[in-house]
């Protein structure tokens, strides 16, 4: 295997194909730094003068830092709560699959994957607004609940591969079931926790529909929702709009640059389960 020759045809084709990914990104970055005049005269050039003022304007217009703070808040807490609660639920289910109740619970949660969000959307929005959950806390709560379907599936599959003997030894030594879970099982779930964290972070960070229908106050807007709200103010001021888009995409792009290997392997691990 190791002495196989490099496949240059595939390399060249892949490189050409990669342009389809790169060109839109290149345009986004360059347009964000151009003046409107420069943009109308030439679309593809690099900016002559890198306009930082587009960004300061966009920060003011879209209240960028508020939206950034909201997005970080929602993503952070929905990831933490999702990992902690979903793994625990899955552990209880995985260790009791021989019992009717837990087996039913497993299929009940997992089958929720097949329920499209629009079917619960209308009643859910009424319910959350009546209960004053039309805010960031409601958003976090709902992400944790919605994540349960897929994560029960991912976690249970993984926990069942962990030998029960590991726990039995600890139980003989007098450890409680709580202790067994937090001290033995949860650390062993490390790779799956990472996968679940990546998937739920991307979901909360990029989701648009739930913030759109749930949040009643524009001050609570997450980054994608903020782009939508200010779309009318951007109007034909494309350089301002692109500065705003770039800032909204940048945090995730930066995280990806430093941890892409880890993210990709995390997603791959989730898909093999």
């Amino acid at each position: 295997m190791t002495n196989k020759k490099i496949n240059w045809a595939a390399t060249i084709l892949l490189a050409i194909g990669a342009l389809a990914v790169l060109i839109p990104l290149y345009l986004t970055i360059t347009i964000a730094f151009k003046t409107p005049e420069e943009l109308s005269s030439n679309l593809f050039n690099l900016p002559k003068h890198w306009m930082v003022s587009n960004f300061t304007n966009a920060i003011k217009t879209t209240n960028f830092f508020v939206a950034l703070k909201n997005s970080i808040f929602v993503s952070f807490f929905s990831v933490i709560l999702t990992v902690l609660t979903n793994s625990m639920v899955a552990y209880a289910i995985a260790r009791n699959m021989d019992k009717k109740f837990y087996k039913l619970l497993y299929y009940f949660f997992v089958s929720a994957m097949f329920i499209p969000f629009p079917i619960i959307m209308l009643p859910l929005v009424r319910q959350t607004s009546t209960w004053h959950l039309d805010n960031l806390f409601g958003l976090i709560l709902l992400y944790v609940v919605f994540n349960l379907a897929l994560n029960t599936f991912i976690y249970v599959g993984y926990i069942r591969t962990i030998p029960v003997e590991l726990e039995e030894a600890a139980i003989v030594d007098g450890a409680s079931t709580w202790r067994v879970f937090w001290k033995i099982i949860f650390p062993l779930l490390g790779p799956m926790n990472a996968t679940v964290a990546i998937l739920s972070c991307l979901y909360a960070w990029n989701d648009f529909l739930l913030p759109l229908v749930l949040l009643s106050n524009p001050d609570m807007a997450t980054l994608p929702l903020a782009q939508y709200i200010f779309q009318s103010q951007f109007s034909t001021n494309y350089t301002l709009a692109f500065a705003s888009y770039l800032m909204a995409l940048a945090p995730m792009l930066i995280v990806y640059m430093f941890s892409q290997k880890w993210i990709i392997s995390g997603v791959m691990r989730g898909s093999i389960k």
Partner: protein, 286 residues
Amino acid sequence: MSRKNVFLVMTIPALLIFLVFHTFPAIQGIFYSFTNWHGYGDWQFVGFKNFINVFKDQQVLDSYLFTFKFAIVATILTNVLSLLIALGLNAKVKFQKTLRALYFIPYILGMLIISFIFSFIFSKVLPDIGQTLHIQWLSSNILGKTSTAWLGIVIVSVWQSTAFNTILYLSGLVTIPGELYEAAGLDGANSWTKFWRITFPMIMPFFTINMVLAMRTFLMAFDQIVALTGGGPGRATESISYVIYKGGFEGGQFAYQSANAVIYFIVIAAISIFQIKVLQKRGEQY
């Protein structure tokens, strides 16, 4: 606390919250679909009237037609492209890690903002290229024409979704043992035969799951519709979710769109089950 009770404490609160925020709204949705509720005020039971009207509603029928046309084309394109990219990335190529990292970028970017960016590309960049090169069909915004707007939505959706499906295919491809290819090579099999006799049967489970997931995602398309066309021109690109959203929240059609959502759910579930059945059977033939 006994072990049995600890397990109950671990699951019961989650079950209750799930019931309240997922199951209960779903049941409410089904319940209201048999009423004439607008989302406010009084209501009465109307039996299957909403369902019958949904089937007669040209706007709803058009949205199903559009959504299916879009979802089928996008599913096929996404799977062909992502399988090709995964095969390429799995081959011995130069700069493999960089290329892999590049191809996965769209996966981490949100559909809404990508769609805003592509909206500009369709309205300014492509017409600019079209005019310079004197290509007639490229010279105007494809999102502006009823006949081509759906293609713009296909392009953006495929651009974003190919990354994830590539990851899935790639994780299937790396599980195929190299010895299989070496043995086939000794038997004189060419690349084409190797692909259809070894690679494809081996990744058939991944093909199934990719087709099901992609189709399901595209049938639920919403963000790209909002950002690219707003359902237009006219109503040419209204997806089913978009119709439910519009009618349910802005049109006072709470009960009516609930009925639409119930049908939508049945359609999605039926298609997923059908796909799994058919593709699994095909898989067993190999």
